[in-house]
């Protein structure tokens, strides 16, 4: 006798496969969302650090830079969720000599930007940071 439709076992197997697929998809979506959030923070951090470096090259003080940047910044190495840590180290004069024998001096300043990695519950899982060395002319007039 020819049967119409699916048997219970077939339906259960199909439902199981679909459930596994949905579970994987849900997990993937969650991972993607976390990755997207991380990318978003990373992009904001990169743009923020570049803006800070440009402002520093213009002669603004670190405090003034933190004040006018569009994100909440502090000097902390462990900034709170949604904020950034931005530091400029002590500047040092670096004497350089080019291949033509002429010496010149530049000012070297390290800068580090730290940003928190946020978990699903909004808690800080870890911190990521980026460090750059800023070279400026040896003579920079201060800008208030």
């Amino acid at each position: 006798m020819k049967k119409n439709g699916f048997s219970l076992v077939e339906a259960l197997i199909a439902a199981g496969i679909v459930a596994i697929g949905l579970t994987a998809a849900a997990s993937l979506v969650g991972a993607l969302m976390a990755k997207e959030e991380l990318n978003s923070v990373s992009l904001r951090a990169a743009n923020l650090h570049e803006q800070a470096i440009v402002l520093y090259r213009l002669g603004l003080s670190p405090a003034r830079i933190r004040e006018i940047l569009p994100e909440t910044c502090s000097e902390s190495g462990t900034p709170a969720a949604g904020t950034f840590g931005l530091t400029f180290g002590a500047s040092s004069v670096v004497a350089c000599t080019a291949s033509d024998g002429y010496s010149f001096k530049v000012m070297s300043t390290p800068s580090t930007l730290t940003y928190p990695i946020i978990g699903a519950e909004g808690s800080v899982l870890s911190y990521s940071s980026n460090s750059e060395t800023i070279i400026q002319p040896a003579t920079v007039w201060p800008v208030p």
Binding site: A25, L28, L32, K35, E36, L38, N39, S42, L43, A46, N47, H49, E50, I53, R57, C96, T97, A98, S99, D100, G101, Y102, S103, F104, K105, V106, S108, N130, E132, T133, I134, I135, Q136, P137, A138, W141
Partner: protein, 410 residues
């Protein structure tokens, strides 16, 4: 069944697209840090290149070899060389030393003004692992030659403390009107000095304005046809003056300087076969009337001379003349500029660390005044109008110099 398969296929496609998008975003996020690194390195390289060019080109004299100049470290790097084939004359032109170097004198107009010189260097700036083509332009001009009639600026940092007074203008006798604002950054600049000669560089180098110097090969002595010393009948011997006659024929060289003996502050000059050495108190420039001909006359009163405290403009003058008073910070003189029987003068004046006092009646001066000292009008008025024919000032007039840079065209 078919519907289910189609649905699954579409679902797989959508899922694959979402995954691809997420992966792309991830790559983009990582690439942003690389881009930041490249841009920071490029900025570092630009700062290094500019400092190197400032170090090499703004100090004179400079060697003309060893190009290209290259430098690299972990923060950036550059490679620079002159754009033109003639590498050996740029620094002479910019350092006011060589009369044989002819500068590019742009015609006077409202956009470019006059008296520019430009030297272009090309180079590569490090940008991450790659490099970017970059151009550097060294430009210079004399404010007076450029048509600026009045330039007043802060004095050099090193000498401000010992300056009698900061720059000021007292136009009506009611008090000193200060230029700028309290706390204004001091403008680095060179004084008009006589401290360097060709082959021995000024240790201070470029500080905003290039030096005008005494004793260089560009200068020469006026002949006896030009010089004469006299004691005006209505003045005492202590106001002994030297008269430089701009109506006279050209001297033996294009530009001349009134020389002084540093040991006794006297003016020394030649008349006939005799060399005179006199305690001159003032320089009289006797004008050429309406005759614009003749080579420019340059008169430099050097730092070593503390006797000269006055300049007298006698008769009218249309011949280009330029008067320099080198720094007089140690003697605190108030340099007096007066006129006799004059209503129109063609004259550039540079006063260095020396307050100037105008007592000239009503006088129209075609040219300009540059000073880092005070200005007082004791009487009359000076009407400055721009110099529009700066030929002859190109390699002698004090000048500012600056460096421009820009990304090379691809």
């Amino acid at each position: 069944m078919i519907f289910a398969l189609v649905l699954m296929t579409v679902g797989v496609f959508v899922l694959a697209a979402v995954l691809q998008l997420a992966a792309t975003q991830g790559v983009s996020g990582e690439a942003e840090w690389d881009a930041l690194q490249r841009r920071v390195t490029l900025g570092n390289s630009r700062a290094m290149a500019r400092e190197h060019l400032r170090s090499r080109l703004f100090h004179v004299p400079q060697a003309t070899n060893n190009w290209p100049a290259t430098f690299t470290n972990s923060s950036g790097g550059f490679s620079i060389q002159p754009a033109g084939a003639a590498h050996d004359n740029y620094w002479q032109a910019l350092s006011v030393t060589d009369p044989d170097v002819v500068l590019n004198i742009n015609p006077f107009n409202l956009m470019e003004r006059g008296g520019f010189y430009r030297e272009v260097f090309v180079g590569q700036l490090q940008q991450g692992a790659n490099s970017v083509g970059w151009s550097f332009a060294l430009r210079t001009r004399s404010p007076v030659a450029a048509g600026y009639s009045f330039v007043q600026h802060r004095p050099a940092d090193n000498d401000l403390a010992s300056l009698a007074s900061p720059p000021y203008i007292d136009l009506n006798g009611t008090g000193e009107q200060f230029v700028g604002f309290p706390g204004m950054p001091r403008m680095p600049m060179a004084s008009v000095t006589n401290t360097f000669t060709r082959g021995a560089g000024d240790s201070n180098g470029y500080q905003g304005f290039l030096d005008v110097r005494e004793g260089a090969s560009v200068y020469g002595l006026f002949t006896n046809a030009v010089y004469q010393a006299r004691e005006p009948s209505n003045q005492t011997p202590r106001t002994l003056q030297v008269v430089l006659d701009l109506a006279a024929a050209d001297p033996n060289v294009a530009n001349s300087v009134l020389r002084y003996d540093a040991t006794d502050n006297n003016a020394s000059f030649t008349r006939g076969t005799n060399v005179y050495n006199l305690p001159v108190k003032a320089v009289v420039l006797s004008g050429s009337g309406n005759d614009r001909g003749g080579k420019p006359l340059h008169v430099v009163v050097p730092e070593s001379n503390t006797n000269i405290t006055g300049l007298v403009l006698s008769n009218n003058n249309a011949r280009l003349a330029y008067f320099y008073r080198q720094k007089a910070v140690n003697n605190g003189v108030l340099f007096d500029v007066s006129s006799v029987n004059a209503s129109s003068w063609r004259l550039g004046i540079t006063m260095s660390q020396c307050d100037i006092q105008f007592d000239i009646g009503t006088l129209e001066i075609t040219g300009g005044l540059r000073t880092d000292g005070g200005i007082t009008y004791q009487g009359g008025s000076a009407n400055f109008i721009p110099e529009t024919d700066p030929g002859g000032l190109d390699f002698i007039a004090d000048r500012m110099m600056w460096l421009e840079d820009y990304r090379a065209q691809q």
